[in-house]
Symmetry: C2
Subunit: 361 residues, 2 copies
């Protein structure tokens, strides 16, 4: 176990990573190891079950400590990558201990006293946090909102129609494991996928999904809400409105799971207050921080999850002006749901707070 040079810690804020051993936590440790290092001590926190595990971050091996009020002693910023109910209980504990809690769960996102922050879009909102808690948006919203924020600034957004192509890892490590198992079960049989129910029989228990995902797409993510909406679809609507500061934005989403390990994709129909133009929209996207434009279909250049996974930006392609509405654009977007969709954006929010706590001299 190496010891980090003391100079690095001098005067810099202490960070806690709660949920360090989970799917998003694992990506978080990679991200902390590669980004410009603004942190002093880093403390890894997880359930008592995982306490004592040793994980590497910034080249240092650290021991995971059990979640407890004392674990937040001396912590300046605490990132939470844990289920809603764990965040609901423990983020206020961290805040009461004087830490700024940056929460990646759904527990506080719609709380009017908790800002919902995407640094490229609304970094300033992070400073208004009466509860000491800042929320990180849902992965589906995050996979599109940086690009839409840039277009909103250029054209003023009025309406979104969204169809998602969501990866298995949106359901965590159990989602990844289930898809891999299903793929192994179906890939050897060259007759499957041709008769109703044959894939369902071959797959058996579909794991965390309500239907098999291999050789299939499943129009469901989350829990059932009024009017037949899924919780995931309402998150896309409510969180987009809050992040963009557009409480009356019209949003209709249909969220669909697809057999991809990681990286969410979205087909978006975006209607603006003013007329749009394909080339200028492409230019706006190409110039936007955190966005990469890949839009040359003549050469088969467009984003796909397999090409985007493991990368940080929001990738956009297939930019078209609607043929029947000069104020509307069609887009296809991809974003790694574990990185920008979760760990990366949480790290970026935490860095905004770190800069505020310890401004560069």
């Amino acid at each position: 176990m190496s010891i980090a040079p003391i100079a690095r810690r001098d005067g810099r804020p202490t960070l806690a990573v709660v949920g360090a051993t989970g799917a998003v936590g694992t990506v978080m440790l990679e991200i902390l190891s590669t980004r410009a290092d603004v942190w002093g001590d880093i403390r890894l926190i997880a359930s008592p079950r995982s306490a004592g595990k040793r994980l590497t971050v910034r080249g240092e091996e650290l021991e995971v400590v059990a979640l407890s009020p004392e674990a937040f002693d001396g912590v300046d910023v605490a990132m939470f990558d844990v289920p809603d109910e764990v965040s609901a209980e423990w983020a206020p504990v961290a805040a009461a201990k004087g830490a700024v809690a940056v929460d990646n769960s759904g527990a506080f996102r719609m709380d009017p006293d908790v800002p919902l922050v995407v640094p490229e879009v609304n970094a300033a909102a992070a400073a208004q946090r009466p509860k000491g808690i800042i929320s990180n948006p849902n992965c589906t919203t995050l996979s599109m909102i940086v690009a839409l924020g840039a277009l909103h600034e250029a054209y003023t957004l009025q309406e979104l129609v969204v169809a998602s192509y969501q990866a298995a890892s949106g359901a965590g490590q159990p989602g990844i494991d289930a898809l891999r198992e299903q793929m192994a079960k179906v890939s050897g049989d060259a007759s499957l996928g041709t008769v109703a129910g044959d894939v369902r029989r071959a797959v058996g228990d579909p794991g965390p999904f309500p239907a098999p995902l291999a050789y299939n797409v499943v129009p469901w993510a989350g829990s059932l809400k009024d009017g037949g909406w899924s919780s995931e679809e309402l998150k896309v609507r409510n969180e987009s409105r809050k992040i963009l500061g557009l409480p009356d934005l019209k949003v209709s989403a249909t969220c669909v799971r697809v057999p991809v390990i990681t990286t969410h994709s979205l087909a978006v129909h975006a209607v603006f207050a003013t007329e749009v133009e394909q080339e200028r929209a492409q230019h706006v996207l190409a110039q936007a921080p955190g966005v990469v434009l890949v839009d040359d279909p003549a050469n088969h250049e467009f984003p796909t999850p397999a090409d985007v996974v493991g990368t940080d930006p929001t990738w956009v392609g297939r930019v078209r002006r609607s043929l029947d509405d000069p104020r509307a654009l069609e887009l296809f977007l991809c974003g790694d749901n574990l990185r920008k969709g979760a760990a990366l954006n949480t790290a970026q929010i935490a860095e905004v707070v770190a800069a505020e706590l310890n401004p560069p001299r």
Copy 2:
């Protein structure tokens, strides 16, 4: 080789199936063997390469004959399940021989002198065929249009925003083969799908697709048209307008290929002239011929391609009234792209013509 009972042929029209050995042709022979039999002789026609093959239809083994003008002698209805250029050349030949050509290619769909027919929606249009040719719509349009036609009748359609989840078999047998090969290549490696490009390297040549389809989705189908649109996206717009008789219908589509063998799915945002109501829309769909409503998300009941493949109807679920527009519905639809999306609708059109040529006494 059995001989069909002569009684069956008495007075009934003669049918030719051109492209009998292809992916759609194969499904066509199954369909002809199971539907109410309105045909006298059936003649199987294919390229000279396939001539002499013996295929079974209606329990009879028939020999495939080579495509030639003489092959249409005595034919009343000729169904074409062949590439555009073959239809463009040979459907007029069949028509000149006195047959009614029912063409499943894209060659004539937008010809103002060729009706584009979906029997549940516009059966009467089949009678107006100055060229002796009737077109069958594209599989993507067909996977949604029966349900949308029923809703249009109830509410008057004004706008569609469509995102597709299209199966590999939309690219024919080479598409099916490519997806199966790709699945076999990626399913054994539990690290794949986590780093940009790893799936691309494992898959190698993606076959008829512009990028790998296993562990991926690909926002492209067809050829490049003006404004960055794909031909498939324009077909959805132009064919929907023609079938519904709504030349000004606003349509925006984004077409995406997914790793499903057969059955296209679509997320549709449909805006109407009048206010809609979830329960009434569900009732309209449940009553519509050719449509099955499966819409009970509390019990995980919604259509998925794995449950729909091999069946005839258009399956609809996830029916929701838009939260921000009382005139808009959100829907998720599935249809077998080789059956209703191709062979079945062609057979249904041919049956409409057969009833006209040989009305029931």
